[in-house]
Amino acid sequence: MTEATTKAEDLRIERVFDAPRELVFKAWLSPEQLSSWYGPAHFSVPGDRIVVEPHEGGRWELVMVQRDSGAEHPLRSRIVELREPELLVIENEALPDHGMGVTRTRVEFFDEGGSTRMVLTDGPYEAPMGGMAGQGWAAAFDKLSAVLGG
């Protein structure tokens, strides 16, 4: 049940946006715009702390700030490929605290008659022992066993 299997998988998501391709593409490179949509729920992404150097090899960095606790989660990435307005690939620094190694976020933008189909692949997600949640529970049960003397 808790064998240490390592599974690496990519996540792939598609979405059609009712907006021209240039506009959707720009939303990934403008700090002001990233600030308004990138943060997960419960997080803010302050615009003045976003760094985007819009060229291959350039930095793509932001800080996610947890709304309730103020805890900060920096995301440091580099632009690996940039072909405006059709392709953006960024490489994300590993987040060991979140059980994540180096990942790549690849975003392709397809023009569909004024709308834009955006295809995102993100990964690989390696989830040894089921990633963060699994490790948390395994650790909790280990402690529990120790406290109870096994």
Binding site: T5, I13, R15, L23, V24, W37, G130, G131
Partner: protein, 113 residues
Amino acid sequence: MPTDQLSRTFAALGDPTRRQILCRLAESEATVSELAEPFPVTLAAVSKHLKVLERAGLIERDREAQYRPSRLQIEPLGDASDWIEGRRLTWEQRFDRLDAHLQTLQKGTKDDD
């Protein structure tokens, strides 16, 4: 009265007997009588604890088997595919906000025209 899953899970973990039952199940699945063995309590009392653990999603029990062995059920929380599903949800929500953001942008442009 908190009824969400996380509250139920923590409430279930708040009892020492139930924690010991979970530790026992971490080794292997077990029937009610096997679980009751180390405790100075009745089978009925252990059954009651198992119901709480089951509702909290921490164990599962065989429906058909006569002795309904209990199994620790922590895989759903740690399963690799769940981890990825969590990431998917994050991205989907991000796309929702991007969608709303793009609509606002375009509306602004149109209003300016």
